[in-house]
Amino acid sequence: MAYSNEDRLGIPDFMQKTNTYHQRPASSQYRRQTNARNMTEDDYEVYKEMRRRSLDRKNIHAKQSRKKVDNSLKGQLKRHWKGIVFSIGLGAAVFSADQALDELFHEADIINQNSVVSATRQAVRDHELRTDNVRNWQLNTSGVEQDVDAILDNGGDPLIVLGTLGNSLNKTYTQDELTSIVEHSFGENPDTLVRSLNPERYDEGIQDPDFKADVRNYIVQQTEADIARSHIDANSQLEAMLNSGQGIQNTGEKGMGGK
């Protein structure tokens, strides 16, 4: 079938059946400045912890030495730094550094308030076994699959679930698990599925930076809309309470005046 790009990145029908998308207004604003901000939630968590440890007032007494390590290790560590720093650096090139950081913090805070993102992250964490050595990392995929199915059955937005799974399981050693979970819950290989949404834009599949940026913006927009709706609901309730209170007060005044 033909997918509309304005319909949640053209999410296929079988995914729409498990969510409340049709009740939400379509919008194209989530595509704003997608190439300027590619920091994933995972990067943000690493960044936040790195900042905390860098600013920790405690002096560190270290012992220096030299050591021979596997050739790939230093490159792997540099790539991690590059992933964090360049996502900020790209933002700093577009905005000022302060604005870029403020926006990243704001977006991450908004994303962290999204219940589907939280539930999906939790589904992974609840079935994760990790030691200090990543080589001993293990995931109970069937447990995650059951939890993801429950999230989707309860109306969780499939696009948000898919994007969050991609971010939570974005390491080379987690690819098999990600594939297994997505194939179980969405019926298709994750890369094939994401490419099918927009073959020209998402040619790298589920880890494509454009897909991640689009999903990130989509989550921010949906969450901001949910927050705005809850404020409207709260205001309506408050107004109803005030009106009700006014009625009571009027009644009271009448009563008092009646005496």
Partner: protein, 74 residues
């Protein structure tokens, strides 16, 4: 095998990924997500000082951005 500089503390080995001015960019050898920036004490190279504030932290990150780590990868 590559030879790298190691800073050992808290029972962990941190690889010196790069050094710019007095800033040390460190990563846990066993966990690449465990990263930090510290400052070298000119009088005591074994003492790793904290970054003073957010402004200095951003300055250190921007220095690293300019260094363009990808050009150092072989």
């Amino acid at each position: 095998m590559d030879e790298v500089e190691i800073y050992s503390f808290d029972d962990k080995d941190y690889v010196l990924v790069t050094k710019i001015d007095s800033y040390l960019y460190l990563s846990n050898e066993k966990d690449p997500r465990d990263m930090m920036i510290r400052k070298e004490d000119v009088n005591n190279p074994d003492l790793l000082l904290p970054i003073e504030d957010d402004e200095e932290f951003e300055h250190a990150l921007l220095l690293l951005t300019r260094r363009k780590l990808e050009t150092e990868e072989s």
